[in-house]
Symmetry: C2
Subunit: 229 residues, 2 copies
């Protein structure tokens, strides 16, 4: 047997790629550590060298996905033609576009992640995403506050609040996904769009902006996310 | 042996009382189902007749505590001399008073509940409290909106958002409790007071009220909660 020697980072990347592929195709619950190591061509020992558990792997995957998304959205955040509000809106628009592109994957993962028995998983992922996004959002808010175009005297705390608020979307999203899977898209798309709009208005108000300034919702977004291919 | 026959509700109440006493004195982690049934004079079979697990018991206990608190605060909520904003403030003031009265118990339970490994417990309790408080808050918001003194066009969704926001207090509270236990009260009391004040301002803004209208924070409250006896 030829033993291919790979750098640890390469192996780690391959391991995460394999796990992601399996989680997206079979779902997290239906994928075992054995499935992952078989697919990745790794020994169990090698797996545990990287991760203490399947859950720890998922957390690393969530962090990687959050970082990748942010990396893709970074040019929007650095567009100096826009002020902080414009960049915040560009960030939300870009994040909607990414979500629609990834919709089939997102439907698979979200359906699993929002199940009541997966509350620990959900929190691990939420914490990974929050850790990546909070400093970016806080920096934008600080800049906007200094420029006098929004009100966020404690940008770090306000960023935490706005990210906390996004969790009201979770149960609505989960319910909508289940209904859409049963072929019922219109009503859940309407409810999800409305909830997104309310989330946007809550952000506006916390930042002392007129209702409708920060555009979290967009015509047709919930439908594009929910509708099975 | 004399077998005392008690009505099921009486037994259930006794079981919850015993569990509450033990959780508060020893902490949730250090209390086993065996400890509870010994204290309550119940068989294991009888325990499992009421609850599938220690966690399920905790959930029932959380619901009972939330209902008891609301019951105690109900007169404030029904005070017709006050408008919806006045009653919301009376509710927060009453809930602070209850918290200070129960401070030693709250310190014990919160310390356990906010530990990262107890995330499921935390969520069970949070859901139990949210389920009890959401309809009350939604009704107050609906009344205030109709009276034109605050802005909450979708009272149910806004109530959910405001309750979601209170979760930003959790990590701050946990850190403050740990610091206070080490004899350091001043700094965590200041941070917790400031976070409570920010939570109040976020509520004001979401409801389109001037900053400082809804009084969540109060001079000396964090210190009274944190300072060991």
């Amino acid at each position: 047997m030829i033993r291919v020697v790979k750098a640890p980072e390469v192996r780690l990347t391959e391991l995460l790629d394999c796990a992601q592929r399996l989680f997206f195709s079979r779902g997290y619950d239906n994928t075992t550590i054995n499935d992952i190591i078989t697919e990745a061509g790794l020994s169990k020992g090698a797996f545990y060298h990287y991760f203490a558990s399947k859950e720890a792997l998922l957390e690393a995957l969530a962090t990687r996905m959050a970082r990748d998304s942010v990396k893709e959205l970074e040019p929007l955040l650095e567009d100096l033609e826009l002020d902080a509000i414009g960049r915040l809106n560009a960030f939300f628009a870009g994040s909607r576009r990414l979500k629609v592109e990834m919709a089939p994957h997102i439907r698979n993962t979200f359906e699993v992640i929002f199940r009541p028995e997966n509350i620990v998983l959900f929190h691990r992922i939420d914490q990974a995403v929050t850790a990546v996004v909070t400093p970016i959002l806080a920096a934008l808010l600080a800049e906007g506050h200094e420029a006098g175009i929004l009100d966020a005297p404690d940008p770090q705390a306000v960023a935490e609040m706005l990210l906390q608020l996004r969790l009201i979307l979770g149960p609505v999203m989960h319910k909508a996904l289940l209904q859409a899977k049963d072929g019922n898209v219109d009503e859940p798309a309407r409810v999800l769009d409305e909830r997104l709009r309310l989330y946007g208005i809550a952000i506006d108000r916390v930042l002392k902006l007129p209702d409708g300034t920060i555009k979290v919702a967009e015509e047709g977004f919930a439908r594009a996310l929910l509708e099975p291919d």
